[in-house]
């Protein structure tokens, strides 16, 4: 089981962690939203919980709770730029279909 980040994502995560001034890495997760469908969580991680699974990719610590990992295994976190817009995307091999905007998905 693994979750990875691209070089571009790592660069931005490190930049923002530095700007924010604290945090050990990022926490990825999923949460159910609405009657069916999942939404991604992407947050700063300030401390490690006992049950967290930790991956190290491109020098970035990625923390995931085991429940979310079931949905995210094999995911690659990327950072993309479209015109003035920029932000993170999840390339999740488990996701069967996504809503039009890519904010929520189904297994």
């Amino acid at each position: 089981m693994a979750v990875t980040v691209t070089e571009a994502a790592a660069r931005h995560i490190n930049k923002y962690l530095e700007k924010r001034g604290k945090g050990v890495g990022v926490r990825l997760g999923v949460k159910t939203s609405g009657c069916s469908g999942m939404a991604y969580k992407l947050e700063y991680a300030d401390d490690l919980s006992a049950e967290d699974v930790v991956f190290e990719s491109q020098g970035v610590k990625v923390l995931i709770d085991p429940k979310s990992l079931a949905y995210l295994d094999g995911t690659e976190l990327d950072f993309v730029r479209e015109g003035l817009k920029e932000g993170f995307t999840f390339n999740n091999p488990n996701a069967k279909n996504e809503c039009g905007c890519g904010e929520s998905f189904n297994i």
């Binding site: 997760g29 009657c35 069916s36 991604y40 700063y44 479209e82 817009k85 932000g87 904010e103 297994i107």
Partner: protein, 622 residues
Amino acid sequence: MVLLQLSEPGESPDPHQHRLAVGIDLGTTNSLVATLRHAVPECLPDVDGRVLLPSVVRYHRDASTAVGVDALAAQVADPRNTVASVKRLMGRGLADADAGMRARYDLVDAGGMVRINTVAGLRTPVEVSSEILQVLRQRAEDTLGGEVEGAVITVPAYFDDAQRQATKDAARLAGLNVLRLLNEPTAAAIAYGLDKSAEGIYAVFDLGGGTFDFSVLQLSRGVFEVKATSGDSALGGDDFDEALSNYLQEKARGADLDCGSARALLVEARRVKEALTSHDSVAAEVPMAADGTRQIMVTAEEFHHLTQPLIERTLQPVKKALRDAGLKPSDIQAVVLVGGATRMPHLRRAVEAFFGRPPFIDIDPDKVVAIGAAIQANVLVGNRQEGEDWLLLDVIPLSLGLETMGGLTEKVIPRNSTIPIAKAQDFTTFKDGQTAMAIHVVQGERELVQDCRSLARFELRGIPPMPAGGARIRVTFQVDADGLLSVSAREQTTGVEASIAVKPSYGLSDEEITQMLQAGYQHASTDMHLRALREQCVDAERLLEATRQALNEDAHLLNAAELAHVEQNMTALQALVQSADTAAIKAGVDALSAATGEFAARRMDQAIRKALTGNRVDNLPI
């Protein structure tokens, strides 16, 4: 596609729930827009990477406009129609417009308010400002990929009601919802987090391109009050450029400069001034009237000596403000520097010497006001609870949620949420004409209700009969500071409501909570598959129910063979629902959907025919 942002722990927004809020520094010389990206405040650049938008608007004959750098470039060629420093005219009548603005533009009095006569017609200062705000709003929306929900716009502390109202009007005209107008010095203090520091007295020293403002703020219980303001509306970084430019001209001993090279010299003086911030000496290229340029070395010391009188001039209003507030320099707990001109090292030294403490300089002085406004906007739009940083709160040990179709749990409040907390979610009916809904409140991390702890059950009755999915039932979970959970359900159209209160932690020991958590982790993978299966079953049931309903009403639209085909697919799906094969059920659902496609089309036709029969075309509600 939406690109995700990093959030603070526990603050990931729900999908489609991002509330975009911006802070705008609408300045005399330059304007900026800032927002929180990845939970960090940032000024947003344009496509060319420029953060500062020159506050200049040029009007063309065809009423089109250019804003920013392009307008600034046209200032020399088309001065009358290129409006700069419009902030000086906001909320002002012709009588109180300053002499400089009157000399530069064709100002007209219209109903007590000043208007600017341009090639595109009369324009109010409000309209000119709104052109600038529109560009910033567009920049924010292009960058963030959504509509801006609200904006905090900064104004000088000395702005009166008319000037503030004019600023609000400009924002509204630009399609911005103004959350609040914020005093510029207060915004700068917020950018440094001073609102979360100890109560006390702070000073903001703001030396911009053409104006100087000094403010004394008093912080009590997280709120800033402006104790005193003073300044000089004709003193700024430009005066330092001019002093240096005169000096260079003298040193070059050239003949009188023509208009064009005087401007070029001013631009060069500005470059030298900026370079002297980090260098001890800089070579200036002075344009000569005859031809070519002449190189003149300028040392930092020379520049400092040359501009010392200007520095002294900034300290006069500072002393006055302190005197007005009855304070000594040592009473000030921190001094914040704002404005590009405060980068000059000798100015910083003068401020430090006066107050006896080094000023705050960590945040870019050009951006600090916009950043403070962005932080405030983010709080006001509800993305962040004010005060959460220093309040120590309890957390919920296990997620709280309710049962949805198929025996699945829907978590409404996730575990580790700080209390007190309230969260609402909308649910709907599953069947046509459904008039009641059972609400089953559960606690735990597992996906299936049977694996979670049941806390309470209650029913919402009196839902008006509607097609399945038509009702909007808002279920609100609220946990108070004592950990007491109350759940209420309210049908939105009729307002019928039912509720219940429970104590979720009642009867649970720490070990039991730990056990429930661990079970959640151990069964993560099975739970995931079970959830997918149950969701597919719910889908299948919904389709079967709808088909049954349709056959009841309109079976006559199908011939015997077609009817048999539909029924055969229904029976097949019915059997599959009992199996535990998610993929097979999905295939069955797809097959039944395909088999009923033609049936659905005929029903639609029939419904339209019914609606049209006996109606004249002009009676139809179109």
